[in-house]
């Protein structure tokens, strides 16, 4: 202000006799009001004759100078000081070294400075773009038709503080543009939903003039109300808001439910609410008075502005992109904002992550799953051992299993596990499934053990795909990690560690076929790698391939520096389960504090279906390694197998708390619910797992069965066409 007065005052002193107003505003008005003829007049008066350099810079000297802008009315010679010259003269006399000089000075020849080559290489090492891209997309698209933004649990993206600040600031500013119809509450909720799901700290404050003002206000508020300046009140409000399962889109609904929640608190809560809003506003670093006014306006407008019912909005990419999101291992949750509690960067390299889940439940309702799987595995194992397939034997073996299954099924029906109608559905679904399996059988047999690479791999050509893969794996981005690791083993086919990690990533992603294929490659390269051997043992146990499992577990023991002495030096021609179990019991006695031995024992007891012993072993191992999420999953799977599905869910929950992207645990959770007859629940978990990894074929089959059992035949088509968007909408978790 003072500055302005000062300058205009100075100008007034200097310009005596000028016909025009002498203050800056007048000068401008003059310039603007003046007719073109007047301008011409003044043009002639001007003594300056500064010419515009036709080419001011050597570095940009390639274009031909144009005398005039085509199509414009500016064909007359350019006179930079054409208007406002009275003022300018006065201004100059008042301040010789003022702004006008600088502005004119630029006309004078400049010392050329060398062109800068400052382009930073585009940052391709940033956070995984696909994950983020689709996530942000869903945020942006949530503005179409006023759909509340439902954030998903996201993996650790490795966003830098700068990235987070960008996302926070930019989304806040942009949200105010495209949520124009919505109330400030809604906008804040949307932005906060985005931020909290990206784990962006709302306390990162951007600098801004308005912030100071607010700080004062906050101080005042705290002083007058004796409140502790504790954590940002906005956070509390946001969290609270997030818990409201009401339609966030309608501010009046929101207010209603807010009142229900806070009842008689009336004014106080209202004020607090305002206060919290202010705090949220502050996050966009511009809680200026115009904003507060605008906020009020928005509220009023929100009620009067009509919703956009244009089908274009409803059909926008919001829905299409949900499926793409699945590639990034994120899903849309129900109206709940669940900030991901992500696993601490663990010592993944030393942990045994290979475990199993799915198929083991065959002892329960899902026997039929294993029916075709089991023979496959056997046949495969048989083929790889003997070099050819004995069809007769296979048929006989299959029949055997069918009988087992029929018995099992009959027993369960007898126990009333299935309702009458659901049994029918289930049976027909099963028939279809069998047909499918028969068709797939040839294919899967020939491809078994052969690692199948992804088509388009953005990590091919990456300077260090192994490191990238390890990093992605650590962050829980399994599908991305798989791609990076594939790039690594394509580059270095003899890298055992690359293959091993690839196998583990597949196992965690609930893809045992690929896991085994990768692990076998790892074992080829490094036949004595303990981790690989254990992983193979577990994978084959999962596939109920006892002989192979025993072989690998035996090798593990034999090559172990501590337990090598426990086993006879020469591997016998045929391993017996009992012998191997004895060896491991000996090993466990030797060092009762070695969690690995207990894990293997647990796996072995699974093979022999001694589930109580297996549970005991895993629980012992968990005391030694309480943060091993794969171990929790193993415990859960075992409990599920021993018909303790309720306990299993608790164990899976532990695994998911430690590692939210653990696809296998999500799928297992579904199985456990299905085992308890809670099909509707199980569907949600399958869909969740599939959203993270659509390639998990087992989970698709489980989903189909649960849909049949839940009498949701209307969704079977979506399941068969693998329409995840549709399924996710129908079965949000």
């Amino acid at each position: 202000m003072a500055m302005r007065e000062l300058v205009s005052g100075g100008a007034a002193c200097a310009t005596s006799g000028s016909s025009s107003s002498s203050n800056p505003l007048g000068s401008l008005a003059n310039a603007l009001l003046g007719s073109s003829s007047k301008t011409q007049e003044r043009l002639r008066e001007i003594p300056t004759s500064t010419a515009i350099p036709s080419d001011g810079s050597a570095s940009v000297g390639t274009g031909e100078p144009l005398s005039g802008l085509p199509g414009s009315e500016l064909d007359h010679p350019l006179q930079p000081n054409a208007q406002g010259s009275e003022f300018l003269r006065g201004f100059r006399s008042a301040d010789q070294h003022g702004l006008a000089d600088v502005w004119d000075e630029i006309q004078r020849p400049q010392v050329n400075f060398p062109p800068e080559h400052v382009l930073r290489q585009p940052d391709t090492n940033g956070p995984p773009q696909r994950v983020l891209s689709s996530f942000l997309h869903s945020f942006v698209n949530s503005s179409h038709g006023g759909i509340p933004f439902c954030p998903a649990t996201l993996p650790v993206l490795g966003l830098s503080a700068g990235d987070k600040q960008c996302i926070r600031d930019r989304s806040s500013i942009m949200a105010r543009h495209f949520f124009a119809d919505k109330s400030e509450d809604f906008i804040n909720a949307q932005v906060n939903a985005l931020l909290s799901s990206l784990e962006i700290d709302n306390d990162i404050r951007a600098p801004g003039p308005a912030f100071k003002r607010y700080q004062e206000l906050e101080k005042y508020w705290h002083e007058t109300h004796g409140m502790r300046p504790g954590p940002n009140p906005a956070d509390g409000w946001v969290a609270e808001f997030a818990q409201h399962p009401v339609g966030h889109g309608d501010p009046s609904t929101w207010v209603q439910s807010f009142e229900q929640e806070h009842g008689a608190n009336g004014w106080a809560s209202e004020f607090e609410h305002e206060h919290a809003q202010l705090a949220s506003m502050d996050h966009i670093r511009g809680a200026t008075m115009p904003h507060l006014a605008a906020m009020e306006q928005t509220r009023m407008l929100a009620n009067t502005l009509a919703q956009n019912n244009d089908p274009k909005f409803q059909n926008s990419k919001f829905f299409q992109f949900v499926s793409k999101m699945s590639r990034g291992e994120i899903t849309v949750e129900d109206n709940q904002i669940k900030p991901a509690t992500l696993s601490a960067p663990g010592d993944w390299a030393t942990e045994y992550q290979q475990q199993y889940s799915g198929g083991q439940t065959w002892a329960d309702q899902f026997v039929h799953e294993e029916l075709s799987k089991g023979p496959n595995g056997w046949v495969d194992e048989f083929a790889s051992e003997r070099g050819h397939v004995d069809d007769g034997w296979v048929n006989e073996f299959s029949k055997l299993h069918v009988n087992d299954w029929a018995e099992e099924f009959g027993r369960q029906v007898g126990e009333g596990t299935f309702g009458d109608s659901s049994a029918d559905n289930w049976a027909s679904a099963y028939d279809e499934y069998l047909n499918e399996q028969t068709a797939l059988k040839q294919q899967s047999e020939s491809s078994r053990g052969v690692y199948v690479f992804s088509d388009l791999n953005p990590y091919v050509g990456h300077p260090n795909p192994l490191k990238e893969g390890q990093e992605l794996f650590r962050k829980g981005l399994l599908s991305e990690a798989v791609l990076a690791l594939e790039a690594e083993v394509l580059k270095n086919p003899d890298n055992a560690e690359g293959w091993r990690l690839l196998g583990i990533a597949h196992a965690e992603n609930d893809d045992d076929q690929q896991a085994i294929a990768a692990m076998m490659r790892a074992q080829e390269v490094d036949p004595t790698n303990l981790e690989v051997l254990l992983a193979l043992g577990v994978s084959h146990t999962n596939e109920l391939e006892q002989a192979a499992a025993l072989k690998y577990l035996y090798s593990w023991l034999r090559h172990h520096p501590k337990y090598g002495t426990v086993v006879p030096p020469n591997q016998p021609d045929s391993l017996y389960y009992g012998d191997v179990a004895t060896y491991f019991s000996d090993a466990a006695r030797m060092s009762p504090d070695d969690a690995d031995v207990h894990i293997v024992l647990g796996v072995l007891y699974n093979l022999s279906r001694e589930y109580d012993k297996a549970i005991e072993s895993f629980q012992t191992a968990l005391k030694l390694k309480p943060r091993d999420y794969s171990l929790w999953n193993k415990l859960g799977a075992t409990q599920a197998n021993s018909v303790q599905s309720a306990d299993a869910i608790l164990a899976y929950q532990q695994a998911l708390d430690l590692k939210p992207n653990y696809v296998r645990a999500w799928a297992n959770m579904g199985i456990s619910y299905a085992n308890q007859g809670m099909y509707e629940e199980s569907i949600r978990y399958y869909v969740r797992a599939l959203a993270m990894n659509p390639k998990a074929d087992n989970a698709w089959q489980y989903l189909r069965i649960s849909l049949s059992c839940a009498s949701r035949n209307d969704m079977l088509e979506a399941c068969d066409s693998r329409n995840l968007d549709f399924l996710q909408k129908e079965f949000p978790l």
């Binding site: 800056p24 505003l25 000068s27 401008l28 008005a29 603007l32 810079s57 570095s59 940009v60 390639t62 274009g63 031909e64 100078p65 144009l66 802008l69 199509g71 414009s72 009315e73 500016l74 350019l78 930079p80 406002g84 003022f87 201004f91 702004l99 006008a100 600088v102 502005w103 630029i106 800068e116 080559h117 400052v118 382009l119 930073r120 585009p122 940052d123 391709t124 773009q129 983020l132 891209s133 942000l136 942006v140 503005s143 966003l159 990235d163 960008c166 600031d169 930019r170 942009m174 543009h177 124009a180 511009g286 605008a294 306006q297 407008l301 956009n308 244009d310 274009k312 909005f313 990419k317």
Partner: protein, 321 residues
């Protein structure tokens, strides 16, 4: 009419003032929220390599952050100024190989640069406006800004040079004001509380240098006469969401083009009663860039977050093959 697919979300499109077939497109990954950016220079003719495609790419330049806006130099046919979200203003010379570009990177703004505008009268200077609440004045041959204009209380979304007066420009800000500035003066010369909501764009009438249009989050476009700015000359209602850009026709004094978060491009004649004279809903996501060719009357270009660039003649269907 021609359509071109860009890999990122379109942010801005500008016709070259020198060649009727060239246009520059500013794009940003992930809607400009996070990621890289790319500046495309397109040619309205098929390339020999790909004769089926009506628009071909002459050149493209990658940036480490989104490109929010671009403008062509009025003095050199190969010079483009880009507004980058990392706070830099970058100059690109098409006649130089990509490795020699950008020829300048001007790093002064502390936050995202949201617009750049080249002075059409004094063809040596340009303005940048930023979310750091400031506007900066630059010349092509200086390594630092000539002046910084700091008065707005919130993001400055766009600036527009007066088409006739070399020193006068307007700025549009999220503080709900538009301001008129004379670069020789220390402070803004006029504050226009034009809307009750954030103002995202402004432009001067090319035939009446006292008339300015503002576009706002309140979905409206208002036309003002700066000599009597108490009431707007016209209020153009019809967009369903915030109006992102507004642009006066270089050929008809009363014609305005606008684009909006309602995914449409609209043409208006603010002098007539039924002001809305054309609506194009060819984009399937937010439409955030629109331009009218100076060299070809009625030729329009638009871009949006659907990653498409359309070029079409007014009255035609942009999607028509």
């Amino acid at each position: 009419m021609p359509v071109f697919k860009v890999p990122f979300n379109g942010y801005s499109v500008k016709f070259s003032p020198f060649y009727e077939s060239q246009l520059a497109v500013a794009t940003a990954q992930n809607f400009g929220i996070l990621g890289n950016g790319r500046l495309h220079v397109l040619q309205l003719s098929p390339s020999p390599a790909n004769p089926g495609q009506p628009i071909s790419e002459i050149s493209s330049f990658d940036t480490a952050d989104g490109v929010y806006d671009c403008c062509w130099s009025e003095s050199h046919d190969s010079l483009i100024v880009a507004a980058v979200a990392d706070g830099s203003v970058k100059l690109y010379d098409l006649s130089l190989p990509p490795t020699a570009n950008p020829i300048r990177s001007l790093q002064e703004h502390t936050r995202e640069v949201h617009s750049v505008d080249y002075n059409v009268v004094r063809k040596d200077s340009f303005l940048s406006s930023s979310w750091d609440d400031t506007v900066k004045l630059w010349t092509v041959d200086r390594p630092s800004s000539v002046r910084t204009f700091k008065e707005h209380a919130y993001c400055v979304y766009s600036t527009a040079w007066n088409p006739r007066h070399a020193d006068v420009f307007a700025s549009a800000s999220g503080d709900c004001t538009a301001r008129i500035w004379d670069v020789r003066e220390p402070a803004s010369t006029m504050i226009l509380p034009a809307h009750e909501f954030e103002i995202l764009s402004c432009d001067w009438n090319k035939y009446d240098d006292c008339v300015i249009a503002t576009a706002s989050v309140d979905k409206s476009i208002k036309v003002w006469d700066v000599r009597s700015f108490r009431v707007p000359v016209a209020v153009l209602n019809g967009h369903g969401y915030a109006v992102r850009k507004v642009k006066f026709s270089p050929h008809r004094g009363s014609v305005i083009a606008s684009c909006s978060y309602d995914m449409t491009v609209c043409l208006w004649d603010y002098m007539v009663e039924d002001a809305l004279i054309g609506r194009y809903d060819h984009h399937t996501e937010f439409t955030v860039g629109v331009d009218m060719s100076v060299l070809v009357e009625g030729l329009l270009a638009s871009t949006g977050w659907d990653e498409l660039v359309y070029v079409w003649q007014h009255g035609m269907d942009p999607r028509a093959p």
